[in-house]
Symmetry: C2
DNA sequence: CTGTTAGCGCTTTCAA
DNA sequence: TTGAAAGCGCTAACAG
């Protein structure tokens, strides 16, 4: 069952069938109709592999993420797929599992499938792998690539603005002693958030107490432990900002374990706005980083670069927004 | 850059390069080594499309799910990929978004990519689409297919056993009035759970009060509303089982809104054990349905069927297990 | 507007 | 063990 059979049944050449499939305008409507009917009756599905091979275009875009079970990614994946479908393109998803070796495997898969572009939404990627893509002129889009490069698109996130919004919100609620639970310092984006927090305190003339800047790991366990340490101080902060939502959720657990209440005794702010955050008890106030926006910008950058054959990539900056829910409240009376 | 260049550099024919790539044992180690070195220096990645076209095997397995942002699926996807990688196969993921039309698109994608098998982990699929696969002898594996079919593998879940375990657990805690929040009755698996609940009550000689069997939608909003209705009754149940975790989480919110405590005033049990459930406050007691097990069984069934060319599919039954966390406790004194 | 035909890059007989 | 060559199914000049 192939294009020949369709051609035979429709009494045309394979070229005409191909043209019809690809929506060429140089096919008489009547002919096209006949072809379409033949396709229908034969239940013919054009072989993607042959198409890609013949045309040199795969219409496939790669999406490399760390781990689909990390709640940050599902929405990103979904949005990326949705927009790709809109553009008539397909998506090849690959997980690195935070493992450099798996990353190599992912890159190799992309190369073998001859993708038309790759969105790399994870930080850990070796320079030589980027070169593989570059030398083949495969468009790349990064999320938060620290070192922008020739011909590579970059989606930047204004983390500082997000942190600022969180700090301002807490200050407006009367908080003066604000703690922070950082993410892994190996992550550029985590470093930026921590620095932004410190700067925000300064700008607001709040004293920076380094013992209230704790270290987490962007997972719940790290948040839990960090918050426990924070609560060990006789005079703990009345509000804590976490570097991401998972950290905040872990932190909330630690607060409850001490018999304290959120937000009556302590306010908590997260970062990312993963789905889960709306369902915590109380619902988490957090800085929303729109995954849909990231996905759209990344895909469009790739698509445009591929279509136009442009050699320089685009750069976009995304503004996070504060989502106020129930985990933040006025500073408790009598505290500092 | 293709197999020819490699052949030239290694001073062999393209056939030998192909054999080396595919690990044929009829290549002298020395020759193979030369080829491998050539591949290395040229940074050659064999074109998957051409490989599939030439061989007739795609080494690609399709995975159709409803929606990657549904927390049930990420772990399933990950496990499926992990095992596929182990077997040297690739995975093509497709979301239906609960939309029959998108389902057609998904099926079409699978057909066009000439997948070697498809795991359909969503319920809504039209009969004629199944036929498309059948007529092309593409192995299929279903999750919970109500009507088992010729040559199709089926992963069954013993939902009843899971519900039984939940009911038994609550009874052992002294509960006598147990409520249930069902899922959408359009879902076979939801119907089974509801029926299992009713049967379990009977078997334990507990009276079945139909006003305590509420209707949800497997989402948090449905759980919230259903639980609110349940709590409107003067004498509400002291324990409630939800048809899935999202429902349970929504229900928990409704309980808190009334100023009641979990599990002191009311115990809650979920179903699925999605990641989120470990992080609710209190952590949710639930019936765990191992997505890893589902994924493994589904993939292996497909792989074996394809490799052996078997015409009849396998059938497996998965036993869910109760995970006791903090949302269940003894029946409150003085209640029924 | 339609048909002919030479590839696309790899696999796989078939011979050697 | 290796090579030559005929496909795999489709696309895209090129001709007409």
């Amino acid at each position: 069952m192939n294009i020949k059979e369709v051609a035979r049944l429709a009494k045309v050449s394979t070229a005409t069938v191909s043209r019809t499939i690809n929506g060429s305008d140089k096919v008489t409507p009547e002919t096209a109709e006949r072809v379409r009917k033949a396709i229908e009756t034969l239940k013919f599905y054009p072989n993607t592999n042959a198409r890609a091979l013949g045309s040199g275009r795969s219409s496939l875009y790669g999406l490399i993420i760390s781990d689909i079970t990390n709640p940050f990614f599902p929405e990103l994946v979904k949005s990326f797929e949705d927009i790709a479908v809109q553009y008539g393109q397909e998506v090849l998803i690959a997980n690195t599992n935070y493992d450099p070796h798996r990353m190599e495997v992912c890159v190799s898969r992309m190369l073998q499938r001859k993708v038309d572009g790759v969105a790399i939404m994870t930080s850990e990627i070796a320079e030589h792998l980027i070169d593989e893509f570059n030398s083949r002129k495969i468009p790349l889009a990064f999320l938060d690539n620290a070192t922008p490069q020739k011909g590579i698109s970059n989606i930047l996130v204004d983390y500082a603005a997000g942190i600022d919004a969180a700090v301002d919100h807490l200050i407006s609620l009367g908080h003066k002693t604000i703690g922070f639970i950082a993410g892994p310092m190996s992550l550029a984006s985590a470093r930026i958030r921590k620095r932004a927090f410190i700067n925000a305190l300064k700008r607001n003339n709040l004293k920076l107490d380094l013992q209230f800047v704790e270290q987490g790991n962007h997972r719940t366990d790290g948040g839990h432990e960090a918050m426990s340490r924070l609560l060990d101080h006789k005079a703990h902060p009345t509000a804590v900002i976490a570097s991401n939502d998972m950290t905040a959720i872990g932190a909330m657990g630690a607060v409850f374990e001490r018999g304290l209440h959120i937000p009556q005794d302590i306010s908590i702010v997260g970062f990312d706005d993963i789905e889960l955050s709306a369902f915590t008890q109380p619902a988490l106030t957090t800085v929303r980083l729109s995954r849909q926006e990231i996905a759209k910008l990344a895909f469009r950058a790739l698509y445009n670069t591929y279509q136009t054959g442009a050699t320089k990539g685009a750069e976009y900056t995304i503004q996070p927004t504060l989502v106020i829910r129930k985990s933040t409240g006025p500073k408790p009376a009598g505290k500092h």
